[in-house]
């Protein structure tokens, strides 16, 4: 049938002998595999270094040093202290005498100065007075106090503060460390899990020990609610319209190009846009999760639209034909058949978009969520959206920028919490995809 005259096939060597070309090709394949393995190993090595350094630097944020003391205050002692002119001082002295008695029991003896205790524990007298004024029933029965030690004591135990490097100041004297050692030996000063770091709110710049990430987790949560409930319906509706209904012309091409471009716009641009539109023009409250959520919605929308359109496009056209062929309207075809099949892709895209938004710091810088000290939890749901708050990445940034070295630990600890949230969101995305994935 062919016009070419057939020639005899060239004579080839034996199959048992590998010829030069084959050798070369095999060598090239081996080299390529080696590069691939090398690349993966480098990636894994970086990942391990990253994980180890984050855990090592962040772990101290989850423990703190506490002074665990148990003693009884009688009614007479309470009355006597309340009768004094300097009540807090009276309680401090009461505490010191109780502490000394406890040390004596285990056979240790050291002179405890009032100002030394204040350097180690802060205004302990005020704390004890407040406790007994609020709980007068506790008088006369033994009571256990777990008092947080100052961040310098934390530093002494995790090696940041040593006797050699200590500069005596109003925060810590060399003699205080002798007292700390004795108390440690008696088992009164010890390390404990710092629940306050997870549940608490941020503290001022002078109190790293009391800083917690809880309030900013709540801030992030309200922000993500705004992002989810705005960007998912808007994004999915926009993608369905563009993909299934919109005519293909220059105008829709332009929209398409712009959506792709928006996905690549630096997040700080969205931040300044949010500042101009939401705060300066619309006068929404500054530093509020509502505004943060609105800005992050703008940022997340392109991501959701692009992934939704991709998953809609991945649904085979034969399914649309089948639905139209039995007389379904276009909308019925989309909502009954196409959308359910595209759901796993849409969910994955949405969760990845949310995870991106959760870790975003730059736009929050401009709307005042960075540097804001969230000293408490919002009261109620509405306040959660409108009260000034911080968000996790913003809180981490704030801590990292503070002068006190103890905040450095907190920043790392905050990163661990943030990564836990991100990882669980990604795992959720994978589970949802597996769960809803259907073959056709």
């Amino acid at each position: 049938m062919t016009d070419m005259p057939m020639e005899d096939a060239p004579v080839r060597g034996s199959l048992t002998q590998v010829d030069a070309r084959t050798k070369k090709r095999n060598a090239a394949e081996k080299r390529f595999k080696a590069y691939g393995i090398g690349a993966i190993l480098i990636g894994v090595a970086f990942l391990i270094v990253l994980a180890v350094s984050i855990v090592r630097s962040g772990a101290p944020a989850f423990t703190h040093t506490v002074m665990d003391v148990e003693f009884t205050v009688t009614q007479e002692e309470f009355d006597a202290a309340e009768g004094e002119l300097f009540k807090t001082k009276a309680y401090s002295n009461l505490f010191i005498s109780k502490l000394a008695a406890q040390l004596e029991e285990v056979g240790l003896e050291i002179d405890i100065q009032e100002d030394a205790i204040e350097r180690l524990l802060g205004k302990v007298g005020a704390d004890i007075r407040e406790f007994y004024r609020e709980n007068p029933d506790a008088l006369g029965t033994p009571n256990r106090f777990e008092l947080s030690a100052s961040s310098r004591v934390d530093g002494y135990f995790n090696g940041r503060v040593t006797r050699d490097t200590l500069v005596e100041s109003r925060f810590l004297m060399l003699a205080d460390l002798d007292l700390v050692d004795v108390l440690h030996e008696a088992g009164i000063i010890k390390g404990a899990f710092n629940w306050n770091f997870i549940t608490g709110a941020d503290s001022g710049v002078d109190n790293p020990g009391g800083a917690g990430i809880g309030a900013s987790v709540i801030g992030s949560f309200f922000m993500m609610l705004v992002v989810l409930f705005l960007s998912l319906p808007i994004g999915v509706a926009a993608s369905i319209y563009l993909e299934e209904f919109a005519p293909k012309n220059r105008f829709t091409d332009l929209i398409e190009v712009n959506i792709s471009n928006l996905a690549a716009v630096p997040s700080i641009v969205f931040g300044i846009l949010g500042l101009a539109v939401f705060i300066q023009f619309m006068h929404l409250p500054q530093s509020a999760p509502l505004v943060g959520g609105l800005v992050l919605t703008l940022m997340t929308l392109p991501t959701i639209i692009i992934s939704t359109r991709a998953s809609l496009r991945a649904v085979p056209p034969s399914i649309r034909d089948a639905a139209l062929g039995v007389g379904a309207s276009k909308m019925q075809a989309v909502f009954h058949h196409v959308l359910p099949l595209a759901m796993p892709g849409i969910l994955t895209g949405t969760i990845i978009g949310l995870a991106q938004a959760l870790g975003e710091t730059a736009p929050l810088l401009l709307i005042g969520m960075v540097g804001f000290v969230a000293r408490g939890y919002p009261e109620g749901v509405v306040a959660g959206f409108t009260d000034p708050n911080s968000a996790m990445p913003a809180q981490i940034y704030t801590w990292a920028a503070r002068a006190d070295a103890s905040f450095y630990d907190k920043a790392w600890g905050g990163i661990i919490i943030l990564l836990i949230f991100l990882l669980s969101m990604n795992i959720l995305a994978i589970i949802l995809r597996r769960r809803f994935e259907r073959r056709w």
């Binding site: 399914i319 062929g325 007389g327 379904a328 009954h336 073959r439």
Partner: protein
């Protein structure tokens, strides 16, 4: 090729279902269908044959306006169903497609249960008042699709889990469930093995009792076996249209003869 067996059964009805006059179809600048005039009778199997790219599938898809989904496709001329112009502005293609069902080349069941596949059409058109009626309709349709006995015990299992031939019969059952008047079939057997093909062909012959069937096929034997009327398309033109027995035994046009004897195609 003159000894191809043809059906002995004559055309039962001469009542015209579809009437196409001077139909032109354009894909952008390409003139895909030129001056097609054809009358499709009720309760008859009409076969469209012709080489690849001759426009027979395109013309078939004009009959239930499936070409509307292709942006660049433009249809001119007049196609009427029972006297109504189906390209009239007042005609909703959704209503048209309920009357004119379609079976596609590749079996395309929904990724749902067998029951839901068949029940989908009746549900969106409101053909059943209650669950019992719907159950009856599903059973009737599956019986008409000649697949009831094979699936009656597993109506809840996914339709995509059936074999290719079963899937195609399920798609036919799905198409007849909306009680259409015309059934369009676009190469329904091209993805099937010979056994499944003969089952579907038998089914087509039975469906003729209730519907007008239009089938596009590449197999001339199939056209000869199942149809009473045959239309031969070539390069966008309707070359010849007539009784199947006449087309296969005594074609008038030279091109028809060349095609059915295997010289062009």
């Amino acid at each position: 090729m003159y000894d191809v067996p043809t059906t002995e059964r004559g055309v039962i009805s001469n009542q015209v279902k579809f009437e196409a006059k001077n139909v032109q179809v354009f894909y952008g600048d390409t003139h895909a269908i030129k001056d097609v005039d054809v009358e499709i009778a009720d309760k008859t199997v009409t076969a469209f044959i012709g080489p690849s790219g001759c426009g027979k599938s395109t013309f078939l898809r004009c009959l239930n306006r499936m070409n509307d989904t292709i942006d660049i496709c433009r249809v001119e001329g007049k196609i009427s169903l029972d006297g109504d112009d189906i390209y009239d502005k007042r005609v909703d293609p959704v209503q048209l497609r309920a009357k004119v069902g379609m079976v596609f080349q590749k079996p395309n069941p929904f990724p749902k249960s067998i029951y839901d596949n068949v029940a989908y059409g009746p549900r969106i058109h409101g053909l059943a008042k209650n669950k019992a009626e719907l159950d009856d309709l599903v059973e009737k349709s599956l019986r008409r699709g000649a697949i009831w006995d094979e699936v009656k015990d597993r109506l809840d299992s996914p339709g995509t889990g059936l074999s290719g031939g079963q899937q195609q019969r399920l798609c036919i059952a799905r198409a007849v469930a909306t009680e259409p008047e015309v059934l369009l079939m676009d190469e329904p057997c091209s993805a099937l093995d010979p056994i499944a093909t003969s089952q579907v062909e038998e089914l087509i012959d039975e469906l003729r009792a209730n519907f007008s069937v239009v089938i596009v096929t590449h197999s001339m034997q199939q056209a000869a076996r199942v149809s009473q009327k045959t239309a031969f398309f070539h390069l966008g033109n309707l070359v010849e249209f007539g009784e199947t027995s006449q087309i296969f035994t005594n074609p008038i046009d030279e091109r028809t003869e060349s095609y059915i004897t295997g010289r062009i195609g």
